[in-house]
C-alpha cells in the first residue's frame, strides 16, 4: 500500500500575548492508503491542531506534509482550498452545517463548487448517499428539523460527495449519544471498507478501539503508536480491542 499522508517534523507555534506557544513539536507520522487510524491524547495535546495542519486549514510553522504525493507547504491558499474540496472530506464534532441551507443543499454545495460533474449527477449522488446513511426522508428539511445523529450523517454525506481520498473526523461522535455514535461509526467502517482512508481525532476509547492503528499524542508530539489490526465489527471483538487499548493507554499515562 502507498503512503497517502506523510508528516515530517511538523511544528506549529502560536503567539499568544506576545508569548510563543509551541502546540506541535516535530510531529512525524505516516498513513497508508486505505488505513483507518485514530489520534488520541489528553486535552490540549495538539490533536485537533495536527488535523487542521495536515489538511491545510491552518498554516504550519515548520516541517513537511506530503499528501497524495504533493507537498502542502508549497501550495497557495487557492490550491489548498482546491485540495480540500476534491481530495479531503471533513466531519466535525460541532457538525458545522451551513445554517441557511437545507440538508440536501449542505451535502451538494461542495460538489457544485467542484464542478467536476453535472448538477443532475451530483443531485443523484447526494440522494444515493442519503439513502445509504438513512437520511433520505430529511432531504428537504431545514437543519433545525433533524437530530444530532442525523445531522452528523448529513455531514458525512457532505464529506463524501466529492469522493475524497481521505476522510478526517475531529471528534465526530463527541456530541452524539451512544446509539447515534455507533451508527456514525458503522458508516465510517463501511466507507473504509470501500477503500477510503479514515483519520479520526478522538477522546473516546470505544471509538479509537475500532481503528487499525492508534497514535497517542502528548504535549504536541506523538509519543506512541499501537496497532490493533482490522476491526471485525462484532461485539466480542470491540470489547477485546477496548480492553487491549485501555491497557496500552494506561501505560501511556492517559
Amino acid at each position: 500500500m502507498d503512503n497517502i499522508l506523510e508528516v515530517r517534523n511538523l511544528c506549529k507555534t502560536y503567539i499568544v500575548n506576545k508569548r510563543q506557544r509551541h502546540v506541535l513539536k516535530n510531529v512525524n507520522m505516516t498513513i497508508k492508503e486505505g488505513e483507518f487510524i485514530s489520534v488520541m491524547g489528553p486535552s490540549g495535546s495538539g490533536k485537533s491542531t495536527l488535523l487542521y495542519n495536515i489538511s491545510g486549514m491552518d498554516k504550519m510553522t515548520a516541517g513537511d506534509v506530503i499528501f497524495d504525493g504533493i507537498e502542502l507547504g508549497s501550495l497557495s491558499e487557492e490550491k489548498l482550498s482546491d485540495m480540500r474540496l476534491h481530495k479531503m472530506g471533513f466531519v466535525f464534532q460541532q457538525i458545522n452545517l451551513l445554517k441557511n441551507l437545507g440538508i440536501i443543499d449542505n451535502i451538494i454545495i461542495s460538489a457544485y463548487m467542484a464542478k467536476s460533474k453535472s448538477k443532475k449527477e451530483i443531485n443523484q449522488q447526494a440522494i444515493d448517499l442519503m439513502k445509504k446513511t438513512d437520511i433520505i426522508e430529511l432531504a428537504d428539511n431545514d437543519i433545525t428539523q433533524a437530530s444530532g445523529g442525523q445531522l452528523q450523517r448529513a455531514a458525512i454525506c457532505r464529506a463524501l460527495i466529492n469522493k475524497p481520498k481521505i476522510l478526517f473526523g475531529d471528534e465526530p461522535t463527541g456530541a452524539l449519544n451512544s446509539r447515534a455514535a455507533s451508527e456514525v461509526m458503522e458508516i465510517f467502517h463501511t466507507i473504509n471498507e470501500e477503500g477510503k482512508t479514515v483519520m479520526l481525532v478522538t477522546h473516546d476509547v470505544k471509538v479509537a478501539s475500532q481503528s487499525e492503528k492508534v497514535f497517542y499524542m502528548k504535549d504536541g508530539n506523538i509519543v506512541g503508536e499501537y496497532v490493533l489490526g482490522k476491526f471485525k465489527q462484532s461485539k466480542d471483538d470491540i470489547k477485546q480491542r477496548e480492553a487491549e487499548l485501555s491497557k496500552w493507554l494506561l501505560n501511556m499515562g492517559f
Partner: protein, 776 residues
C-alpha cells in the same frame, strides 16, 4: 454594571458606533444650521426692509408724469402713508463700461442710474447705511460686485458719442428692490449733480411711482384703486409680497435643501441604529435570556441598552449644535452679502438648539420601539434550546439543488438577499437615497439649463427675443422693427407681442390689475398645463398662479376690462410662468400701444443666431436683443451656479455615505457570518468563490437601489420640485433628463465604487479559520 456593559458594547462595535454618532452629529449640525439660516434670512430681510424703508407698491412708468395729480390722489387716499416719485435713467448696456474695456452690450439687465431717494426706499451700502456719493463717485449693485469681482476704486464709464463720464466706485448697493439676480434691473447710485448731467446727455427716463401704506393688509385694495385711477401706469407694478419672495427665494431654497439633507442623514442614522440593535440582540440573545431567567425585568434590561443610545444621541446632538455655531457663517454668507445681518436675538440660538434636539428625540423614540423586540426573547428558548435568535433561515423553494440557471455562488448570494431581505434594508435604502441625492439635482440642473425651461417663463420657444423700450414714438419704432424683420430673408417666422396692464374682475367682483400679453400665440406655441392658446378675441389664457388666485379653470368665464368696458372672456388654457410674480395672462385682443408695459418680437432665423443678434443690435440702437439662452444664462447664472455647487456637494455626500455604509454593513455582516464562512473555507470553498457571493449581494442590492432610486427621483423628485416651484408659478416641472448622465454614467460610477468598497471590505474573510470557530 451598566457602565461595564456599555463599555463592552462600545468596544465590540467601535467603528459602527462611531459612524452612527457621526451621522447623528451631522444631522443635528445641518438641521441646526438650516434653521439658523432660515431665521437669519427672515430677521435680515425684516431688518433690511426696515432700514431701507422698503416701498409697498411701485408703479414703473415710461413717459411723462404729472406729479401734482399723483400728490393730490395720494393725499385723498386714506391707505397712503407716503408717496415718492423717483427718476431712473435707463442707459443701454452698449454705453456702459464696468471696470472693463468691453461694454455691457450683451447684458440682459436694465442698467438704471439713480439718486439716493429722499423719503423711503433707501439704497444702502454693505453696512446697511444710506449711501451718499460725491461728484464723480458711484455705488454699484452687489450683483456686479460679485460678477465682475469689483473693488472700491474701480471705474464705471458711460460713453455715448462724444460724451464720456467716468465714475469711481466708492460703495456697493444693497437694493431692497433689485438685489436678486432674478430681477432683471439694477440700480447704480450717483450724485445729484452727476445725475442731472447724465440725464441731459443720454438714456431714457423711467419713473418709479412708489407708495408706502399705513397698513400692509390693504395692499390689494390699494393696488386695485391705483389701477382704476388715471395715474401713470406705462410699465410693470411691483408690490411688497413680490419683493419679499424675490429676496428670499434663493437662500430659502438652499436652507430647505440643507434641512432636507439633514433629515436624510437622520434616516440613515436611524437605519444604522436599527441594524446595530438587531445585531446586538442576536449577539446578546443568550445573555438577555439569562438576565430574564435570573429575574431582571424586561424594562430594566431594555433600560441598560436604551441608556447607551440615549447617551449617544444626546452627546452627538449637543456637539453637532456646538459645531453649527461655528459654521453658520459659511451657510449665511450669501444672506450676509445681499441682505445684510440683523442683530442676533436669543431665538437665533435657541430655535436651532430645539431643532437639533428634535433629532435626538427622534433617535431615542426610534430605539425605544426597536428595543421592544426584547420582550419576545424567551429565557427558556435562549438557555435550554440554545436559540441564538439569528436571522438565518432556509427556504425550500430556493434550494440550491433546484437551481438550474445560475452559478452556485451567484445563486447563494441572490438567495440570501431574498431570504434575509430585512437585513439588507439598510443598504437598500441607502442606495435609493444616494441615487435620489445624485439624480434629482442633476435632473434639475439639466432642466434649468435646457432651452425648454423658457416655457416655464410663459414664453414660447424662439431663437431671438427683441425687446423694444417704451417711448413717445413707440408705434413708429415697432413698425420699423417689424418691417425690417419682415423683409429679412433669414427670418423663418416672427411674431410681435405687446404686454399691457389690464383689469380683471376677481372673485369678489373687484377689478384687479393683471399683465396681459397680446399677439398671435399660434406662431410660437407654449406648452399649456391645461387647454390651448387663445385664438378668438373673447378668449384668454391665465398663468397658473393667476388662475389659482381667480379660482378659474379652463372653460370658465372671466371679465376683463378693455377700454373701460367689461368683456366676458373664456379661459382656454392655463400655463406656467415664473416671471413677474407669476401672475400674467395671454389674449388675442387688439393691443393698446399707449398703455403697454413692454413690446417684444420673437424671431426664428435660418442662420447663426449669435450673428443675427449682433446684426439687430447694430441696426437698432434702443433695442434689447437677446437669445433666450443668453438671457437665461445671465438671469439664472447665480441660481445655476449655486445649483451646480449643490449638485456637486450632493454627489460627494452621496458617494461618501455609500462607501461608508457599504463598508460598515459588509464588515458587520461578515462578522456575523464568520462561522458560516469558516465552514465553507474548511470544506474547500475558495476565497474567490465566497467573495463572488458577497459581491453578488452588494451588486444586486445596489442595482435594485439605483433602479428604484431613479424611478423615485424621476417621479417623486419631480413632484417635490414642482411643489416647491409652484410657489413661484411653475407647478408642473418636467425633468429634462440627460440619459447619458443619469442612466449610464452615474450608475456605472456607483457600481464601480460599491464593488471596490465591497472588495476592500470583505478582504478580511481570509483570516477566518474553522479552528477559531470550533474553539468557541
Amino acid at each position: 454594571m451598566i457602565l461595564k456593559i456599555l463599555k463592552k458594547d462600545f468596544l465590540r462595535k467601535k467603528v459602527v458606533t462611531i459612524a452612527v454618532f457621526v451621522f447623528i452629529l451631522l444631522a443635528a449640525m445641518l438641521i441646526s444650521s438650516g434653521t439658523n439660516m432660515l431665521i437669519d434670512l427672515n430677521n435680515s430681510l425684516e431688518h433690511l426692509f426696515k432700514v431701507s424703508s422698503a416701498p409697498h407698491f411701485i408703479q414703473h412708468h415710461s413717459g411723462k408724469i404729472n406729479q401734482d395729480e399723483i400728490d393730490q390722489w395720494s393725499v385723498n387716499n386714506s391707505y397712503v402713508k407716503r408717496q415718492q416719485t423717483s427718476e431712473m435713467i435707463n442707459i443701454h448696456g452698449s454705453k456702459v463700461y464696468i471696470n472693463s474695456d468691453e461694454a455691457e452690450s450683451h447684458s440682459v439687465m436694465d442698467l438704471d442710474f439713480v439718486k439716493q431717494n429722499k423719503s423711503f426706499d433707501y439704497l444702502l451700502d454693505l453696512n446697511n447705511e444710506k449711501i451718499e456719493v460725491n461728484k464723480g463717485e458711484i455705488a454699484v449693485p452687489i450683483y456686479y460686485m460679485q460678477r465682475r469681482d469689483l473693488s472700491l476704486g474701480d471705474k464705471v464709464v458711460i460713453k455715448d458719442g462724444d460724451l464720456k463720464l467716468t465714475f469711481t466706485i466708492t460703495s456697493f448697493v444693497r437694493d431692497v428692490q433689485m438685489n436678486p439676480s432674478i430681477i432683471s434691473s439694477k440700480r447704480f447710485v450717483v450724485n445729484a449733480t452727476d445725475f442731472e448731467k447724465i440725464k441731459d446727455a443720454t438714456g431714457d427716463i423711467e419713473y418709479q411711482i412708489s407708495f408706502q401704506l399705513n397698513d400692509l393688509d390693504n395692499l390689494r385694495q390699494f393696488s386695485n384703486q391705483y389701477i382704476q385711477s388715471d395715474l401713470p401706469k406705462k410699465g410693470p407694478t411691483i408690490d411688497y409680497t413680490l419683493l419679499k419672495l424675490a429676496n428670499s427665494i434663493t437662500d430659502g431654497l438652499i436652507a430647505a435643501v440643507i434641512i432636507l439633507i439633514s433629515l436624510l442623514l437622520n434616516v440613515i442614522a436611524l437605519l444604522c441604529l436599527r441594524f446595530i440593535i438587531l445585531l446586538t440582540i442576536e449577539e446578546d440573545y443568550k445573555e438577555i435570556g439569562v438576565m430574564k431567567a435570573i429575574g431582571i425585568s424586561p424594562p430594566n434590561i431594555k433600560r441598560i441598552y436604551l441608556s447607551k443610545y440615549f447617551t449617544m444621541a444626546l452627546s452627538a446632538t449637543l456637539i453637532g449644535y456646538l459645531i453649527s455655531l461655528f459654521i453658520n457663517d459659511i451657510f449665511s454668507k450669501n444672506i450676509m452679502l445681499y441682505i445684510g445681518m440683523a442683530p442676533k436675538t436669543i431665538i437665533e440660538y435657541s430655535l436651532p438648539l430645539v431643532a437639533a434636539f428634535l433629532i435626538a428625540i427622534i433617535v431615542i423614540i426610534f430605539c425605544y420601539f426597536i428595543l421592544r423586540r426584547f420582550n419576545k426573547i424567551s429565557a427558556i428558548e435562549a438557555i435550554r434550546l440554545g436559540n441564538t435568535g439569528e436571522t438565518y433561515s432556509n427556504n425550500e423553494r430556493l434550494a440550491l439543488y433546484k437551481n438550474k440557471v445560475f452559478n452556485p455562488n451567484i445563486f447563494l448570494g441572490l438567495r440570501d438577499i431574498i431570504i434575509r431581505f430585512r437585513l439588507y434594508v439598510l443598504l437598500f435604502i441607502v442606495f435609493i437615497l444616494s441615487t435620489f441625492m445624485i439624480t434629482v439635482p442633476l435632473n434639475f440642473l439639466n432642466t434649468i439649463q435646457s432651452p425648454e425651461f423658457i416655457t416655464y417663463m410663459g414664453v414660447g420657444k424662439s431663437d431671438i427675443i427683441l425687446d423694444i423700450r417704451q417711448s413717445d414714438q413707440i408705434v413708429k419704432e415697432i413698425n420699423e422693427v417689424v418691417n425690417y424683420i419682415e423683409n429679412d430673408p433669414d427670418v423663418k417666422k416672427y411674431s410681435p407681442y405687446i404686454t399691457s396692464q389690464y383689469e380683471i374682475i376677481n372673485e369678489e367682483g373687484l377689478p384687479e390689475s393683471i399683465l396681459v400679453e397680446t399677439g398671435d400665440f399660434s406662431v410660437f406655441p407654449l406648452d399649456y398645463l391645461e387647454g390651448v392658446s387663445p385664438k378668438l378675441s373673447n378668449e384668454i389664457a391665465l398663468s397658473y398662479l393667476c388662475a389659482n388666485q381667480l379660482k378659474k379653470q379652463v372653460g370658465d368665464e372671466v371679465k376683463l376690462l378693455i377700454n373701460e368696458k367689461p368683456r366676458l372672456m373664456i379661459v382656454t388654457g392655463i400655463y406656467q410662468d415664473i416671471t413677474d410674480g407669476g401672475k400674467t395672462a395671454k389674449a388675442n385682443i387688439s393691443p393698446d400701444y399707449e398703455t403697454a408695459s413692454w413690446y417684444t418680437v420673437n424671431v426664428n432665423v435660418n442662420k447663426n443666431v449669435a450673428k443675427k443678434v449682433l446684426e439687430y443690435e447694430n441696426r437698432f440702437d434702443d433695442l434689447k436683443v437677446s437669445n433666450p439662452k443668453e438671457y437665461f444664462k445671465q438671469t439664472f447664472s447665480s441660481t445655476i451656479n449655486q445649483l451646480k455647487l449643490l449638485t456637486i456637494t450632493a454627489i460627494i455626500i452621496a458617494i461618501l455615505v455609500t462607501v461608508l455604509i457599504t463598508s460598515l454593513f459588509l464588515k458587520m455582516m461578515i462578522a456575523k457570518d464568520r462561522s458560516q464562512i469558516a465552514i465553507k473555507r474548511s470544506i474547500g470553498i475558495s476565497l474567490k468563490e465566497i467573495k463572488i457571493e458577497y459581491i453578488t449581494k452588494a451588486f444586486v442590492i445596489l442595482n435594485l437601489g439605483i433602479l428604484l432610486g431613479t424611478v423615485i427621483s424621476n417621479t417623486l423628485g419631480e413632484r417635490l420640485l414642482s411643489a416647491v416651484l409652484s410657489i413661484v408659478g411653475a407647478p408642473n416641472i418636467e425633468f429634462i433628463i440627460n440619459p447619458l448622465q443619469v442612466y449610464i454614467i452615474s450608475p456605472i460610477i456607483m457600481i464601480i465604487i460599491v464593488i471596490l468598497t465591497t472588495l476592500v471590505s470583505i478582504n478580511f474573510i481570509k483570516e477566518f479559520s474553522i479552528s477559531d470557530i470550533n474553539a468557541e
